[in-house]
């Protein structure tokens, strides 16, 4: 191996990590909302500051959000959510780390209507981590690649305790919806 070849390999090695980084799509203003229906009242909150990343080289996905960024219509409900149920001071974040099954970058580029992929990963919330497998639907919106997911979580799985007298007010299952929008360079 002569010196020139070595030089090329070095350059390649140095540039490789940057190339991998370019394979990543990111959304800093992801929208996550949850909804639950209980006999006495519906509970609904929105977070529009979730962070999400998708690695195009291998289909890895990651999502993180601050619990205090969830906003409710009823301010007292928001206070109780942070103070009594989710304990945001102790557990400030919710995260998802997973991988999209049968992921191919080319398939994303050639989306006509939409593309549904299932993912498998771990959802961490309120200090507890559980395996979940939400489906993700990808579709195009202008230059943007959109990713939408919807799944149900049981609050009991995340050790969120509801006092007996509040059972009428709080549902045991919560529907979570998330929409992420990624800028793409392809178009």
């Amino acid at each position: 191996m002569n010196w020139m070849n070595k030089k090329h390999i070095f350059l390649l090695l140095i540039l490789l990590p940057f190339a991998t980084q370019a394979q990543r799509l990111m959304d800093r203003h992801g929208k996550v909302k949850f909804f639950s229906e209980a006999p006495l009242e519906n509970i609904e909150a929105d977070n529009s500051q979730a962070l999400a990343a998708l690695d195009l080289s291998n289909g890895n996905v990651a999502v993180t959000m601050l619990m205090k960024s969830f906003h409710f219509d009823k301010s007292l409900m928001e206070e109780h959510f942070n103070e009594n149920y989710i304990e945001s001071d102790k557990f400030p974040k919710a995260t998802y780390k997973g991988v999209l099954k049968n992921f191919k970058k080319e398939n994303l580029n050639s989306i006509q209507d939409s593309l549904k992929l299932s993912s498998q990963g771990e959802l961490s919330l309120h200090g507890k981590t559980n395996k979940v497998s939400p489906d993700v639907v990808f579709y195009k919106n202008g230059n943007k690649l959109m990713a939408k997911t919807q799944f149900v979580i049981k609050i009991d799985d995340y050790d969120v305790k509801v006092p007996k007298m509040m059972i009428q007010n709080i549902a045991e299952e919560v529907l979570v919806t998330a929409i992420f929008s990624f800028e793409t360079e392809t178009n």
């Binding site: 140095i14 990590p17 990543r24 990111m26 205090k68």
Partner: protein
């Protein structure tokens, strides 16, 4: 040459590590902006027990509040240890903005109407902004409408009392919050001995949270004046119980009145003599916008 090669490989490896696939989540978390974090829920209610806490409600919240004090525990079995008697205040309190509240109330004690303004000047914060305390400015005006049975000449001004407070509090931990409340009350007349006077008191109080929904509170308002034998400093100890849209406060106190001008300067009962009122505050919040 070998040295250079080694350095370059090392650099490459370091760079690779930084972008390793497994760390997608930790890379993402590093991107999370570190903003100021507001320290919320220093106390559960807008009252510590008798006096106001540094809490204000969020914009558009209307609170309907009922405060109630029974008679004294040492009034004997004939009065069912105080439960036969009642002093009550009903009030509507509204958060005009996140940091600004107004309220109107009517107390059965001396048939008094009151109105107050409450503004949060400083909010305790941590993170990128460090603010160690919350400070609230409070003022209220009360008018006594109880008719006199004697013909002592009383002007309109004599029936008024105004209160000015600066509430300073800090949430030291998830469990412990403490508050200091310098209070100045200007009276038309002080009912019991009918001498004109103003009262300066330095209230102190705190809460100790036992569980997420249960806390113990205590509050004391020592007066900085020669109050004689007749008047006592207001002392109260109680618990906060939180259930959904309600905060339920139960307390023992020597004060009969539930507004500043009443409990700070007009309390005549001695807590340690057994002149203790059992009482409660209940509030129900409605979100108007």
């Amino acid at each position: 040459m070998k040295k250079l090669t080694f350095t370059l490989i090392l650099l490459c490896l370091m760079a690779m590590k930084g972008y390793s696939q497994d760390d997608l989540l930790s890379d993402l978390e590093a991107e999370q902006p570190e903003g100021p974090q507001i320290v919320t829920s220093t106390f559960k209610g807008t009252r510590l027990i008798n006096g106001h806490s540094v809490e204000t409600r969020k914009e558009g919240t209307l609170e309907f509040m009922i405060s109630h004090r029974f008679g004294t525990l040492n009034s004997g079995s004939y009065n069912f240890w105080g439960l036969d008697q009642a002093s009550i205040r009903i009030a509507l309190e509204y958060a005009v903005f996140d940091r600004f509240m107004i309220g109107v109330g009517r107390s059965s004690y001396q048939k008094t109407y009151d109105g107050y303004l409450k503004y949060k000047l400083l909010q305790q914060q941590k993170g990128s902004v460090n603010m160690p305390i919350s400070v609230v400015l409070f003022s209220s005006l009360a008018i006594k409408t109880l008719k006199r049975t004697d013909d002592f000449p009383v002007t309109f001004d004599d029936k008024l009392a105004s209160t000015y407070q600066m509430l300073i509090a800090r949430k030291f931990s998830d469990r412990l919050s403490l508050q200091v409340s310098p209070t100045f009350v200007q009276y038309g007349l002080i009912e019991a001995n009918e001498t004109r006077g103003d009262v300066l008191a330095i209230g102190v109080g705190g809460r100790l949270k036992l569980t997420n929904r249960l806390a113990i509170n205590a509050e004391y308002f020592p007066q900085l004046r020669d109050k004689g034998d007749q008047f006592q400093n207001a002392f109260a100890i109680g618990v906060d119980i939180e259930t959904g849209g309600h905060v339920f406060q139960l307390q023992f106190t020597n004060a009969t009145s539930m507004i500043e001008k009443g409990f700070v300067g007009e309390s005549t009962n001695d807590f340690f003599d057994g002149d203790i009122h059992f009482g409660f505050n209940i509030s129900r919040a409605f979100q108007l916008k």
